[in-house]
Amino acid sequence: MRVFPELASGAAAQFPWRRMIRYRSVRNRLPGGDEIDFGDVPYERRSWELPLGDLEDVEWQAVRDFFAETGGRRLPFTFVEPGSNLLAWSDLLGEDVWVKSVGLQVSGGALDPKGGIAATSLSDGSGWTISQTLLAPASRAFVASAWLKSSSTGVVLKMSDGAGQSKQVAVAADDIWRRYELPWRLTSAADQVVLDVAGPAGASVTVYGLQVEPQIGRSSYKRTTEQSGIFANAYFDQDSLIESLTAPNQNSGTLRIQWTPSPI
């Protein structure tokens, strides 16, 4: 799996960085001011500009090697968007991207800790689990977080690499909303990370704000829909890499990346 490298600190990028989202439509404006639109619905283009500064030689070497490996614009790679929620449909656990054990009751529209109705209740008479798999290297730094509320014992928020390594945090059985955090930074050769919420027979939990971010510490919740923060088949938007060395062991450069689900 070819994946844009993280920095030695576990960060995915440095401030400031920029992103751009572009759609396309044709618009006819009539003499009276009315408009008729034709959307080019399949077209979408996202791009990022990532300035990197003061990287140590080893860090910059990894960036340079990766750029050389892709040959600039030639080969695709997976781009993990900095600061984003890597889960898809983070509020809609009934979506197919969430793998559910048979018999699990998923009820959306429950009261959430923000005063809305975006939480989801999960329960089952037998042991249950709901999970989403992220196609990103398990050797990277991640942090999972979620608001969970349960009166049952044994409910856990869990991350694993699907190859035997896992971490989990137990949910307190006091029926109080808490935001749980589960940092992940393990040595693993797996190309996936799995986020689970699981419970024993008869247990129930209310969930809100499920999130996995590509960084060490969690940030505020970012609701997602169909597109998560993982972009497979991204490309560099440049054929040359301009490097600058401002002092010993202080390397800088700017990378531009683009992604489109549309046929190129």
Partner: protein, 119 residues
């Protein structure tokens, strides 16, 4: 899922400074004797707002991006609350098909949105 133009965490729609443009589209024919004939090109004024957003946290930025994505740029129509009057204006769209967002620092996301009223 119903999507509404996202508000900031404070409940505000936007930040100062906000700009509003009122326009009365017209066509003019200029004659050789310097007289002119002018007629209105539309049925009334259309409004356009420019919203300058800064110091947004990650979730506020994500809401803006999700809304722009749901609208697919300038294609979708939505109701927009005029930040100067509080009037709910229907049939608005983004002016542009492109959204640029800068993450300048932690808790400092910045973008500029232009919303146009249409008929």
């Amino acid at each position: 899922m119903v999507v509404a133009f996202p508000k900031l965490k404070t409940g505000a729609l936007t930040q100062y400074p906000v700009f509003r443009e009122l326009s009365w589209p017209a066509e003019t024919i200029q004659f050789l004797d310097m007289g002119r004939q002018l007629y209105m090109d539309g049925s009334g004024s259309l409004r356009r707002w420019q919203l300058n957003l800064s110091r947004l946290d990650e979730s506020e930025m994500a809401e803006v991006i999700e809304f722009f994505t749901a609208m697919r740029g300038s294609l979708g129509r939505f109701d927009f609350e005029d930040p100067m009057t509080g009037e709910l204006v229907s049939n608005c769209r983004f002016d542009d098909d492109e959204l640029r967002v800068s993450a300048v620092d932690e808790f400092d996301g910045r973008t500029v949105l232009t919303v146009t009223e249409t008929r």
